[in-house]
Symmetry: C3
Subunit: 146 residues, 3 copies
């Protein structure tokens, strides 16, 4: 049983990492399209130092990516720890799926600048399974310590 939850965790964790990589690729494409590079050496390679500049679309990609950094690595810890508790595999899968869909929707809402509060709703939807897992890990530790 625990094994099945853990396998499911590895599957969704990998999809989430690939989703993060996709944001990095999109950021690179936007930099090339808008000609806005963070480093002078990159700007020089793409037309000149005048392209060493900021751009609101690039900044948006960076914010979406940073929000991933704030949330996906913590999930990769919580999901593994929670899997070790031997949860019901379908309940566990539901946690992982909810987080995955929430984060996917967050990225889409961010990059396509959907109107507020769609992005925030996706963020909260993804946080819910994380808080549930965190609570279950803490409870298991309290039970063990008694």
């Amino acid at each position: 049983m625990e094994n099945e939850a853990f396998a499911s965790f590895l599957f969704f964790g990998t999809l989430l990492v690939l989703k993060m990589y996709a944001v990095a690729v999109i950021t690179g494409q936007v930099r090339l399209r808008k000609k806005a590079f963070a480093n002078p050496e990159d700007a020089l390679r793409h037309g000149g130092l005048q392209y060493h500049r900021e751009d609101p679309d690039v900044e948006r990609c960076l914010r979406a990516h940073r929000n991933d950094l704030e949330n996906i690595p913590p999930f990769l810890f919580l999901g593994a720890a929670y899997s070790f508790l031997g949860p019901d595999p379908s309940v566990a899968r539901l946690h992982f799926l909810a987080f995955f869909l929430g984060r996917l929707a967050h990225t889409v809402a961010y990059l396509l600048r959907l109107r507020a509060p769609l992005r925030s709703v996706a963020y909260v939807a993804a946080q819910a399974p994380c808080l549930s897992m965190a609570l279950q890990i803490l409870l298991a530790e309290f039970r063990r310590a008694l």
Copy 2:
């Protein structure tokens, strides 16, 4: 024994993740209070595009959070790897507790802008158990390879 160290790691790891989430919540509160939003769509929802702006208090929260990103995920790796080495459970707990208290103090010193070098002292205090764990992991691998 290893199991006990690992359970202790999961406990403190979860507390650290919750601490990071708290910084995110505080950032959101400061954004609302100071009316300073990173995205035009958020500003529009909260009074108008003039609130699409930076704010030093928000920037401070973002720096505190970023410092967490630089340090807490590495701990989540080191702490797990170190637990697998089968350390003495009370020595292991001391490592995790020291890191947790150091990071908690770091966040408090950052957000309450305590005078320097309090924040740096907390940072170094949290790094010490990480370096100890990293060294023990490398030593175990060298011993295994011989």
Copy 3:
């Protein structure tokens, strides 16, 4: 076999975490040398509020570090998950070594501002083993689910 791949993963994972810590130390040194501090309380301690300012060399360090944050925690997940699949230990070690060398080269190219596209080549070289591991994790899950 799996154990040997996992031990190798722990070894390279720890080296990568230490590499990240080194970037943090370098950032601090550049801040002191260029007298450019992100926080007024730090500037006050080092000569006055006029040193509460940005600096292109500090920004460069921060970008190198951020790129690590975007790539090293995902590797720490993928590498562990991939090790659990029971890969051939020498093939596994090759994945971890390639990622480590790619990331080391990326940091060196970033901090020494080597000419483009050296940094990007290092980035892509480090991504290749990650994509290989991600694919193998997903394939194993598909095989398991059938």
